[in-house]
Assembly symmetry: C2
Homo-oligomer: 345 residues x 2
């Protein structure tokens, strides 16, 4: 199978992109030492980059016992709040490195004492210039508006960084994850092509996951929204049952991401509530078979370790979004109304 | 106007509930001293309580120059991550004080060195017992499943707490905010009753706001979802234009929250993008008139200071949700599929 052109080509290129990243783990080591010296890791980014930041909260917590948070960009970039960054590391995520308010945030945080790292595909970008250190994503040129290999490499980079902050080199496991994805791609492509047909007229969806997989829920929902014009909302398992379950009916699909970890029981319970409210469910992930009553199951092979599961479980969502766009008669390579760089006023 | 029964009665009771809270500012003072002694404020809660936590990020940042974050509940309550809480204050939000994983989180955080505060309507609840300090919401019995006066008093309590952490007593301004809400209620009720009719068949919406008003966007979307079975997704102004703008068409309503502060230009710009993508817009808030091309405008009077704007700008959303439920033939007092206490497995 050759990678091919456009969004599908970039989805297929992901194993190769992830291998390029993991091959350069030594570049991450010196950055990790400086991040680990700070008490708080603040992550900033928009869109897919913010979804990767959701993953980092868990990666840093689980691999390094470190507190990492998705920080407010507005509070620094717009309100000029008088925050103390002297014990913070900032990890700023942007594919292009051109997102203006992320650059402003980094400049302000650095001026107030933060150690700042740019995680970007463009080491010559304004973001890279604003930060003290650069962690290149090495995803290669990403031409599609919808980010895929950039997102995967962001997860990989954050896992490597968090692992090294906790004294562990995860590069072998990240390389093995690339193999897992590569082996699964063709089967998943076939499965989603069939699955897209019955959803051709879906206009709204919920996507749920918890813990490490909340990032996957957010990213899957964003792909569906960007490419398929589906109003797909990501929800933690708890948030789904707290309120949005009220909006469910049999015409309302719910995409459930299930990995075999400590958060799985709450996802299984939320799925049961969604099912009893009448929702049509698609279960994806290594523990997809554990979701009772799912109309469709997209099982993925297990990742080399649970904290790396989100690198695998996002792939069915990426492929489904590509197939669904085509089933809807939309061009997945040219989404309506969108531009590649986040424009902030 | 008497308050009356049910959800509408509770919405109308809000000024009285807020006055009860602000009258007891001395109880907040000793808690604030202990919170201010810590480097990081971690907020936890589900649903409306988590929306109030979004507000706290800005209240603490702007009023106290303090870093406050919505913390991951899963990381501690499910994954048992080895986080250091010794320099953290935890502010746990729950109307009932019974939300199980929030209680688990507080127990773990306290055991690992956090100063823990329960902000709850039930000072005899398990959450209050688990925390070192209790900040009673004094909202009075809230019988509707959809939280309204609890949410407003959570914002009030967080503003008072953040203010005192920064050395400022905001109780006079919070009391004045109650007057502002009271004066606006009748006019807003009339306005939303007319507005609900054309939206009777809306099945999905986006709700956007930024900075301090992102909490309002989240809470407005949650009310619409809970009470009206509308799949309403909250988005920051930047997130709206980043991806979801692709899903917009003229049948897709966008609720825009506009307050006159540093985040307003980005909200105005996002609204312009949504409008040019064809969305029907409703603008609410003190700066609603600044949103060009809005089909409907629900202007609210200004709050005594900008950081208190979200206490006022949530009211049009609460009232609209109540009216829209009735326009849809739903009972706003008995939402489908929901229970009052967040059930977590």
């Amino acid at each position: 199978m050759t990678a091919g052109e456009g969004l599908l080509g970039e989805i297929r290129e992901q194993p190769a992109a992830l291998r390029r990243l993991a091959a350069d783990v030594d570049g991450v080591r010196s950055i990790a030492e400086r991040v680990a010296a700070r008490q708080l890791v603040r992550l900033v980014g928009h869109g897919s980059s913010d979804n990767a930041a959701s993953y980092a909260v868990y990666a840093f917590g689980l691999l390094a016992g470190a507190t990492a948070v998705r920080d407010s960009i507005s509070l620094s970039a717009y309100y000029q709040a008088e925050l103390d960054f002297s014990d913070s590391a900032v990890v700023a995520l942007s594919q292009s490195g051109e997102t203006r308010d992320v650059v402003s945030y980094v400049e302000r945080a650095r001026g107030r004492g933060a150690f700042t790292v740019a995680v970007t595909n463009e080491p010559a970008s304004p973001l890279a210039a604003a930060a003290e250190a650069v962690l290149p994503l090495a995803a290669g040129a990403e031409r599609s508006i919808a980010a895929t290999k950039t997102y995967l490499n962001q997860l990989g980079a954050l896992a490597l960084l968090a692992g090294l902050c906790g004294g562990r080199d995860l590069s072998v496991d990240v390389l093995a994850t690339a193999d897992v994805i590569e082996a699964a791609l063709a089967g998943l492509e076939r499965a989603v092509a069939e699955l897209a047909v019955p959803f051709a007229f879906a206009g709204r969806m919920f996507v749920t996951g918890r813990g490490v997989e909340f990032a996957t829920a957010r990213e899957t929902a964003l792909k569906l929204t960007e490419i398929c014009r589906v109003a797909a909302e990501p929800l933690t398992a708890t948030d789904l049952v707290h309120g949005p379950v009220a909006a469910l009916d049999p015409l309302f699909p719910v995409w459930v991401i299930a990995s075999d970890d400590a958060a799985l029981p709450s996802v299984v319970a939320a799925a049961a509530r969604a099912r009893s409210a009448g929702a049509t469910m698609i279960a994806a992930g290594a523990a997809a078979a554990r979701i009772e009553g799912a109309a469709y199951v997209l099982e993925t092979p297990p990742a080399p370790q649970p904290v790396l599961s989100p690198l695998v479980s996002v792939v069915p969502g990426q492929l489904f979004a590509w197939s669904l766009a085509r089933a809807k008669g939309l061009d997945p390579d040219v989404p309506t109304h969108l531009t590649k760089v986040t424009v902030t006023p």
